[in-house]
Symmetry: C2
Subunit: 338 residues, 2 copies
DNA sequence: CTGAAAGCGCTAACAA
DNA sequence: TTGTTAGCGCTTTCAG
């Protein structure tokens, strides 16, 4: 039996049917102290009418919406998808819903999405920032609406954040490659304005420097520029790569494809190691060695941090750094280590 | 400069500052006819106060929320992620936000998420149902809240839906495999209660029947049961597979892994074709042949259908069927067709 | 074209 | 414990 939205039963209807006052019905709804039998009457009435509280009205009054916003640059990235999944789960467990928006990596879109979310009275926000050079959005947040960033970390912002050991990840990866006797390892990345990119490059440089070898970094502003031609020119002709360290998932995919176009097989003709694991990386030939990020955990921790804030917890911003792990398969030069 | 949530400027503040009545300010907000100079004064006031309309209040009054709900079984599936992405874009273009929930393929979770969404006064719902044997949720929708299903199609439901040519997809794929001289083609699928599974199996059977060959279908209730041991027992020992047709992405991944555990290489030792394309399917060795679904388009069309309904369009339910395409790479038995 | 006033569904003073 | 009564921020009759 359908409920008519235009005439959905209200709490007043429930109260009338149960023959109690509106307030009493409200108290029952909120599990406040109410006479035993009235509780029963009210609950019966709710049942009979198929009553559903109007969260909008509830939120309007209470100045909260039981909704959090989440903004990511790109849902197609498996890392992101997994993080979103985890956030969603934690939110649900806390009785919250998540309003998802994607920025496409564009700060302006990101800002406009945030404005839209704030207008909907979200209680909190989780964002994987599109630009981490500066705090690009906390000016949009009303006092009382907390935000936590994940993946990226903002400069000059006092927000909670969850990141991974980007630097250590690439440092170890690079060191491993060096251990295979590789010298002209080229780091390929995109969007140099991102924290993750900077950190990963820094880790790479550190490892190269420690080995007394000149670092070779090839970055593009935007992933779209990472074409086979660019690979050939920059990475091979110019830098004479004898190994590749790809700094994120999209770069990995594009590099893999690009290499093939150039008639090379990643991992065989040119050893390769990639930041970010993904389904089937282990099924490539040779299997791709990666630095794995705990995507679900990132999402879970970000959400947990946010909900602790919402519950009125601590004041000083916290920064959580989760460990990456080096997964050695074959493409780095190891043979059937798995 | 931060805005205080507790004391965020209201329309009344704007009106006072602009020295007009509340109603006039409201009219400006809604682009109704208002005196030119008053419009300017009001807009200036809004600007100065950093006024943001409270969508909750707006929605409460107007009985709508400018939000749609979306429920999917599994965000990690790239097909789903892409569809969500597209829905999000269309929603944004229409000034709507999307509240995302995932059911994990569980009907009860699905129902409870819908109840939650309805309580938030969503204006519409897009869902990839967790079970398509019957209409499992439209009883939860208040009159006036429309739903459109995508991917799956519900039995006995008069909802708008967007699906793909599942049957034709597997029929063509099977025919192609048969064309390579393969006979003991085994279709591997999961969740037989799903429309997509049924349809894909039907397409497979049709092609086998047309060729006068006994069909060999191996289904598991849940993807978790698709283990290497199961593959060995059911698919190889029992059915003596000489080719595999995997019916969805998860099955593909699990089959690929399972085959490797059994010491076989998909596409080389046993030809394989998979429903659902994904990043890097083309980078496997041999490259995986697939039936590709237009994921983004599915999402876009589902959202479009929904918004047309919201704008009060037609009454009779519509069913959109989008074309799949057979992408022949190598694993089906073709060699370097790409 | 504009203003006053009444609510949307709910919660929270404040009394009783 | 309960009921009465204001609102939350906005839209919208209904007069002016």
């Amino acid at each position: 039996m359908a409920i008519w939205k235009s005439q959905a039963p209200t709490l007043l209807d429930v109260a009338r049917l149960a023959d109690v006052s509106l307030k009493t019905a409200s108290r029952v709804l909120n599990n406040a102290r109410v006479n035993e039998d009235k509780v029963i009457r009210v609950k019966a009435a709710m049942e009979r009418l198929g009553y559903r509280p109007n969260e909008l009205a509830r939120g309007l009054k209470a100045q909260r919406s039981a909704a959090i916003g989440m903004i990511v640059p790109n849902l197609s990235d498996p890392f992101t998808a997994n993080a979103v999944n985890a956030v969603q789960e934690v939110a649900r467990a806390n009785g919250f819903v998540v309003i998802l928006a994607s920025s496409g990596g564009d700060v302006d879109v990101e800002r406009s999405e945030i404005v839209s979310l704030v207008g909907r009275q979200i209680d909190g926000l989780i964002v994987a920032p599109a630009d981490s050079r500066k705090d690009s959005f906390s000016d949009l947040l009303p006092n009382g609406v907390h935000a936590v960033t994940f993946d990226q970390q903002l400069r000059n912002a006092d927000l909670d954040s969850v990141t991974v050991t980007n630097r250590r990840g690439t440092r170890e990866a690079t060191a491993h490659l060096l251990g295979h006797g590789l010298k002209r390892i080229v780091a390929i990345g995109a969007r140099p304005h991102l924290y993750t990119c900077r950190e990963r490059v820094a880790g790479y440089r550190a490892a190269m420097k420690a080995a007394g070898i000149e670092p070779r970094v090839c970055l593009v502003d935007h992933e779209g520029m990472l074409t086979p031609a660019w690979l050939k020119d920059q990475v091979f002709d110019l830098q004479q790569a004898d190994a590749i360290l790809s700094l994120n998932w999209v770069c990995t995919i594009l590099s893999l494809r690009g290499l093939r176009e150039l008639g090379k097989t990643a991992g065989r003709d040119v050893p390769m190691l990639s930041f970010d694991d993904f389904d089937l990386a282990d099924m490539l030939t040779p299997a791709l060695s990666v630095v794995k990020q705990p995507a679900e955990m990132l999402g879970r921790e970000a959400a947990t941090l946010l909900f602790e804030r919402l519950k009125g917890g601590r004041v000083e911003p916290r920064t959580l750094v989760l460990p990456t792990s080096l997964i050695l398969r074959e493409s780095c030069g190891c043979r059937s280590l798995s």
